[in-house]
Symmetry: C2
Subunit: 439 residues, 2 copies
């Protein structure tokens, strides 16, 4: 069987996986501390439900049984995000959920696109959303970025992952502004403005003039709007200063000011109004978010999201929602790949119990059992070689302690050896589990 | 968007998901206590690597980009177990792993088969394996079932999941026995004997006579072998008593006796020799395991596995392995589905912080932040309704405590209310996280 690496499908060695485990535990814990419960949905959705949203169907992986007729259409597709499955889950279980429903969801998703920096064909996302039945109060538009920033800050403090800054804007604000300028297709403008970071303001201006045949004054106004950035509500006067008016613009300004004002009090400088934020093709209807990590701006937004007036709807209700998605693979694959993050050791094992002879294996097993019963991970040496060889085995595996049948334990990093009882010995707390280390 | 349930793709409500989370945490913890590290592999393998093992290709879900040419063969398939991906991972990373390599892997797998009791099209497995480079000592054949039994026993003790009994046999034993009888195709016999539990001994005898044209005395000997079951090494004499001889039979008897003898000392009565165990089409070469849960025998084996002489091989080495797979979905879907297992509450939240008015939301946020900083999950009421309504909201969500701005906390289950400080109040330990409850 030939080993085959597939580009765009990142896999970690055991050491990298430990980093990922700790990060996922930390994210889950933060979400739960904020009262969000976990759900998981199946990886497969009907092709029908995956392909109703604009151009995304280009990237779907279609799934069918290998023995289905060759010309039969694919019944299923792998989900390409966690929003479509969540919407389906909410509709399917609406009668059994309490609203507003608070859920987080950490799963893999798949897109059949060409792999490139920060984009994978299989990737892990951590989504956190709140969804109402019929209505959802505006204050959740600031709650969700606060939860996400709290989660990212924990990763920064505990694991040294770079600090994050979130940028926020509002679709009503931009749409109202474009309508106030007399532009007929606000969505088209938004999609061009979305290219600002990639191609720069001059190129975007060119596109606005050529593709949308926009008057130069209007294009300048759009670029001026997109250039506004503020950590406080001063952006409101800046927008007013451009002199465009529209009722939807007023609503958008008010909603965004509320979000920024609260954030300024609770996480000063970390949630910043940036009116260039557009979220291209995604179907948000109000607040939108993007997040950059210091020193890793090139990989794109590591947490994006926004508000939907209607995440889903059935005969009786619509389900408005607001949420964000953290790109776990986008953050971790480069950091682990270039060795910036690793584990203090590549195995969970604290103690290797040495074996004097195969006849003594049962006694060694019992020692290991006694250590494990007190939460100390232990494995028994695979062979009864000389102690020196067993110690080298522990060293090669990254196991810090070796236990000898005479009732002694050796820290093989320092060489220190001391008498110990398997019913009472404890390692230093730092050795109990492998931890995340930066280099 | 219409909600669509798909048969064979189980999904849990938030309460059931809590049970699953606790079970998966428990399994991971046990595996790590025994020195097994986690890995995850991509969900997709090349179609090539998935279809080389016998008949299993019937059940593979093929995957291709939705815009790939209709007549292009599928490039990928979803993995149908965690063994094929693990073998590929070992080969791909052999130079960077320490052998014997000990790994566990908890992931979903997919089979495109018709759903039935205990069989799903998407399901979660928890695999634990040890793999050597070139060689792997025989004592691991008892280590792996002990790890698995320890994991299952924890689920029994902590969550009330029914107790498990593992049955063990050995492929060399049965193959040697059949060869000693002069039978030319031991694999064919094994596959018929594998039907014993489903169709009974008379029907199997019929098949042996008809399909394999076996002499009646040989068929009787095969059935007699399959009927042998013992919690100690007495099975050796029973097999000898049948009077069949073959060197491979001797090896198999010796290997199985070793496993049973050690298990008898460490987990008396829980790992039992049962010579009917065949593992049908799986390509094991030595020890084989199956596991039943008391009262749930009808769903089939909840943990199976065995020894491979060569899990994988490359130009330089072969990689023998032994391991087991726990059918997490097979255990949990029926127990959660029929309500035998649930959670003490369906949300992680301990405290709902009440809101007096929208102006007081910021202060409520700060109270919640102080509780969270000490590990107490808290959410802020979504609205500033009258306290009675906010309490009913907490009740509907299953949140046990409501916090009032006057500095009081109410246990809404008992109605008891007392003064409390968000920097020091702690709930009873049992309320800190939702726990698994039996009904």
């Amino acid at each position: 069987m030939a080993a085959k690496k597939l580009s765009g499908f990142p896999e970690f060695l055991p050491e990298g996986r430990i980093v990922e485990q700790r990060v996922l535990e930390s994210l889950s814990r933060t979400f739960e501390l904020h009262g969000f419960g976990s759900i998981e949905t199946r990886a497969l959705e009907t092709m029908d439900s995956l392909t109703r949203k604009g151009e995304i169907d280009k990237e779907v992986y279609a799934v069918k049984r290998i023995h289905a007729p060759a010309d039969a259409p694919a019944e299923f597709g792998l989900h390409f995000d966690l929003t479509v499955p969540f919407a389906r889950y909410v509709l399917e279980n609406a009668g059994r959920l309490a609203f507003p429903f608070r859920r987080y969801q950490i799963q893999k998703a798949w897109r059949g696109e060409r792999p490139q920096d920060g984009r994978y064909r299989e990737f892990t996302q951590a989504d956190v959303d709140i969804v109402g039945q019929g209505e959802l109060a505006a204050h959740h538009d600031v709650e969700l970025p606060l939860v996400t920033l709290d989660a990212l800050e924990r990763l920064h403090v505990d694991f040294g992952i770079p600090p994050a800054t979130m940028e926020v804007s509002n679709r009503k604000l931009s749409e109202g502004f474009y309508r106030g300028l007399g532009l007929a297709d606000p969505m088209a403008v938004l999609q061009l403005v979305d290219k600002l970071d990639k191609i720069g303001p001059d190129a975007v201006r060119g596109l606005l003039l050529e593709e949308l045949a926009m008057p130069p004054a209007a294009a300048n106004a759009c670029l001026r709007l997109a250039s506004i950035r503020a950590a406080d509500t001063s952006f409101v006067d800046e927008v007013r200063g451009i002199g465009v008016e529209h009722p939807l613009l007023d609503t958008g300004l008010e909603e965004l000011a509320q979000v920024v004002q609260t954030a300024q009090q609770l996480v000063p400088g970390r949630l910043v109004a940036a009116l260039k934020i557009a979220r291209g093709l995604d179907y948000y209807t109000g607040t939108v978010y993007e997040t950059s990590m210091r020193g890793m701006e090139a990989i794109g937004s590591i947490s994006s999201g926004g508000r939907y007036d209607s995440l889903a709807s059935d005969q009786k209700n619509s389900y408005p929602g607001v949420g964000l998605s953290i790109g776990v693979s986008r953050i971790l694959v480069p950091l682990i790949g270039k060795g910036a993050l690793g584990a203090s050791r590549p195995v969970p094992t604290v103690v290797l119990v040495a074996v004097d002879s195969e006849d003594a294996r049962l006694a060694a097993n019992e020692t290991a059992t006694r250590l494990r019963s007190r939460g100390i991970a232990a494995e028994v040496s695979p062979n009864a070689d000389k102690y020196g060889k067993q110690i080298r085995y522990a060293d090669r595996r990254g196991i810090p302690y070796v236990w000898f049948s005479a009732g002694e334990v050796k820290d093989i990093r320092t060489g220190e050896q001391q008498p110990a009882d398997p019913d009472s010995w404890v390692p230093p707390a730092a050795d109990l589990r492998p931890s995340v280390v930066q280099s």
